[in-house]
């Protein structure tokens, strides 16, 4: 929904008309808004500095229905359209700490393959635990050598009786330190995409060790490198069939990228809000910053980009709801959103001046979170390569 974000007082979401958001969305936005204001925002800075947030937050998020969104109701999920997910992602972003969003919601990339293609008994066991916030789910695809080049990953899963024996290394795994369930891509067959399968690996499997990564930002998120040393995984934990891994992973991408775009647009708006408030209050050269024309114009430029991204996001979400799969535009959307976030974070830091370089304001933190979005889930350049192929160039 296109809210006039520059209103100091946050107005009720119901107040404005929208072609897309129903009363149900608005009601959920209110729930989310209260949850974020009371249970996340006051602690966001502290948690981010501490490099961790309380595990109890998963349960609370489950209770208000956040974790279940879009998963099958039979396993504890809640039906949700694209707009419900946008509401969730954008309200969560208001806390201004992407690391919390990322780890709290890591199951939105880790668990869709389970819901889509795991054995029924695995689904029935795992999903309720994850969606109730009892267990943490994560996705482990990326390898130290490979980045986004999934088809050439090297982690091996060798069949041995009723087990697979997994060896290899994964890195940049969000929730990697704490995850109870890891959805892991490994090579069960020959070279290339056709040899890749997905396995569900439990966190306490012998042979699995984890190393925490130190990052530029997203500190509240536990990002890890995982080492698999002859981990024995029951064959029933295979997700889908052997060799289908690549296809299942690709099915994740549309919704992951839309979700990232929603988050990035919202983080851009957080920077805008914070910069506006500061510009009105801070005085330089005898008048409030907001009275300097270059500052006013910067703010309008930020607002313009946020508005364009939000509109593009909602139009795309609507098309997804109609059953389309506009891959090229989704790639462009991700770039549009991360560029908007980058622009707004940088301009907000500039408006804050010296204070923008100091820890404690949201824009400082978000500035350090720009790149993980411009790189993760497919880099800007890969988005362009993919979009150009889809455009038939």
């Amino acid at each position: 929904m296109f809210r006039p974000w520059w209103n100091a007082k946050r107005e009720s979401a119901h107040a404005m008309k929208s072609p897309f958001y129903t009363a149900e969305h608005d009601a959920f936005r209110d729930v989310m808004s209260r949850f974020v204001d009371k249970e996340i925002a006051p602690f966001a800075h502290e948690w981010d500095e501490a490099g961790e947030f309380p595990r109890a937050l998963y349960r609370r998020a489950a209770e208000i229905g956040l974790l279940g969104l879009g998963f099958p109701e039979e396993h504890g999920g809640i039906a949700a359209d694209q707009f419900m997910k946008i509401v969730a992602s954008q309200e969560l972003a208001r806390a201004g700490a992407g690391g919390i969003s990322a780890s709290l919601m890591s199951h939105t990339i880790g668990s869709p393959p389970i819901a889509r293609a795991a054995r029924p008994e695995v689904k029935a066991r795992v999903l309720p635990q994850v969606l109730s916030g009892e267990k943490i789910s994560a996705l482990a695809i990326t390898e130290p050598g490979g980045g986004s080049d999934v088809a050439n990953l090297r982690t091996r899963a060798r069949r041995d009786g009723n087990h697979y024996v997994v060896s290899g290394e994964k890195t940049f795994i969000t929730s990697g330190m704490r995850a109870d369930y890891l959805t892991v891509a490994a090579r069960t067959g020959g070279e290339g995409a056709g040899g890749v399968s997905l396995l569900l690996i439990e966190g306490d499997t012998p042979g699995l060790s984890r190393t925490k990564l130190k990052k530029m930002g997203w500190w509240a998120s536990d990002t890890a490198t995982l080492h698999f040393d002859d981990c024995r995984v029951p064959a029933e934990n295979l997700i889908g069939e052997e060799g289908q891994g690549f296809k299942i992973i690709m099915q994740n991408f549309n919704s992951e990228r839309i979700g990232m775009a929603a988050g990035c647009t919202a983080f851009a708006r957080v920077c805008l809000d914070e910069a506006v408030a500061y510009a009105k209050e801070r005085k330089t050269f005898g008048k409030p910053l907001a009275q300097h024309q270059v500052i006013r114009h910067k703010i309008v430029d930020m607002a313009q980009k946020v508005a364009a991204s939000q509109a593009m996001l909602e139009m795309l979400a609507w098309r997804l709801e109609q059953g389309e799969s506009p891959v090229a535009e989704i790639c462009m959307m991700k770039n549009q959103a991360t560029q908007t976030m980058a622009f707004c974070a940088s301009e907000a830091v500039q408006i804050f001046g010296g204070a923008g370089f100091m820890r404690g304001i949201k824009a400082e933190r978000i500035y350090r979170e720009v790149k993980v979005n411009a790189i993760g889930g497919g880099t800007e350049e890969i988005m362009k390569d993919l979009a150009s192929r889809q455009m038939g160039l």
């Binding site: 980045g147 990052k215 530029m216 330089t284 001046g353 411009a374 800007e380 350049e381």
Partner: protein, 387 residues
């Protein structure tokens, strides 16, 4: 800018020093959120690095500014931004006015030990209410017989927690804002000086940044640099070196990041070719190198003119502005090609991305540089014809 064999000698010993005595410790200092300024400066002072263009009679080498510029450029080879900045504060921000306008007495007391590395210096211009707006500082130095009584507060002070003295800008008169200030050397151990807090920053982690309060601090008037109420003018002159230093220190730092990025992306394969083989990647890196050469050419031109005794405020200000703009664009572009590794704290590009964000803010924000330039172009409202 033609560098001679003498320049090259000093450059080589400086490179050796950086390689052996600085870079091996950078990771540790960055992690500790501080570097041992006294220890490092003493070593540098012993080798003569802290006074290349300072007067011989106070321990300097008496060389011309081209040597200082060469050193600023070379410090860019340090693998973080915090340590070179601390050195730059010592040599090119806190001491030029002292060396140029200070009495022999005050130079003996503050400049000599700063050149030998016994003292760590800092520069006190910015205040909480006047980041870049120098004319409107509030710290005052009230006359009391042969002393000043100083009251006020300074903000964003690099080296502030370790410094032995501060080159302080304070109001000493009631005249117009450009003619009521003085630069005063204030020992940090004076009674009434409080280092209120060490600031927690996005980058430049190895450098300490402080907020400092002055509560009726008594300092003898002989600690003043030059004439009373001329501090604003002295500071404006001193800003030329500060800005050139800030720009020059970016050159090799930028090139280091370009080269590291070339190295990393040429080794890293994806989709059947190296990352570097992507046209957008090698084109972008070439464009960035072009911008670095533009900046280098401008800095050299400014340095030549400064050596020739000209006022280089315009070119120095342009250089600082461009360095800030470029630092943001260049580190952003390069980090992008490191993929996930760029986001971890293990890579040089990630540190550079955080560190370089300061250039557009510290030492006068981009917007202040633009105001200065507009004033010189006669286009700032109210300043027309004053260029």
């Amino acid at each position: 800018m033609l560098f001679t064999a003498d320049h090259d000698d000093i450059r080589r010993s400086l490179q050796k020093f950086i390689t052996n005595e600085i870079n091996p410790h950078v990771d540790e200092w960055e992690k500790a959120d501080i570097f041992p300024a006294h220890e490092l400066f003493k070593k540098m002072g012993s080798l003569g690095f802290l006074g290349l263009n300072k007067p011989v009679e106070f321990g300097g080498s008496g060389l011309d500014y081209s040597y200082a510029l060469m050193m600023a450029e070379e410090l860019g080879a340090i693998t973080c931004g915090g340590v070179p900045m601390a050195i730059g504060v010592q040599t090119d921000m806190a001491t030029p006015a002292l060396a140029r306008f200070g009495s022999d007495e005050v130079r003996r007391e503050f400049l000599s030990p700063s050149i030998s590395g016994d003292y760590v210096a800092c520069i006190g211009v910015s205040e909480p209410g006047a980041g870049s707006d120098v004319a409107s500082i509030k710290t005052s130095a009230r006359s009391d017989g042969d002393d000043y009584l100083i009251t006020g507060g300074k903000m964003w002070i690099t080296n502030g927690t370790q410094a032995d003295w501060i080159c302080l800008l304070a109001n000493t008169g009631d005249g117009p804002v450009h003619r009521n200030k003085s630069l005063i050397c204030v020992p940090m151990k004076s009674k009434g000086v409080t280092v209120a807090r060490k600031l927690d920053k996005m980058g430049m982690r190895s450098s300490d940044t402080a907020q400092i309060f002055f509560d009726n601090v008594r300092v003898p008037k002989r600690n003043r640099i030059g004439e009373e109420d001329k501090g604003f003018t002295y500071q404006m002159i001193q800003f030329q070196e500060e800005r050139l230093w800030g720009a020059a220190a970016c050159l090799k730092a930028h090139e280091y990041i370009i080269n590291e990025t070339i190295e990393y992306t040429s080794n890293r394969k994806a989709f059947g070719k190296s990352i570097l083989d992507n046209q957008v990647v090698h084109f972008k890196l070439a464009e960035m190198q072009t911008e670095v050469e533009l900046l280098r050419a401008l800095i050299y031109r400014a340095a030549e003119q400064l050596v020739a005794g000209e006022d280089v405020t315009k070119l120095a200000t342009m250089a600082k502005l461009k360095a800030g703009r470029l630092g943001r664009e260049l580190t952003d572009a390069c980090l992008q090609y490191w993929g996930g590794m760029g986001f971890t704290n293990e890579t040089p590009v990630s540190r550079a991305y955080r560190d370089s964000r300061l250039t557009s803010i510290g030492g006068g924000a981009d917007e202040v540089m633009l105001m200065v330039l507009c004033k010189m172009m006669g286009t700032l409202p109210g300043s027309k014809g004053n260029a």
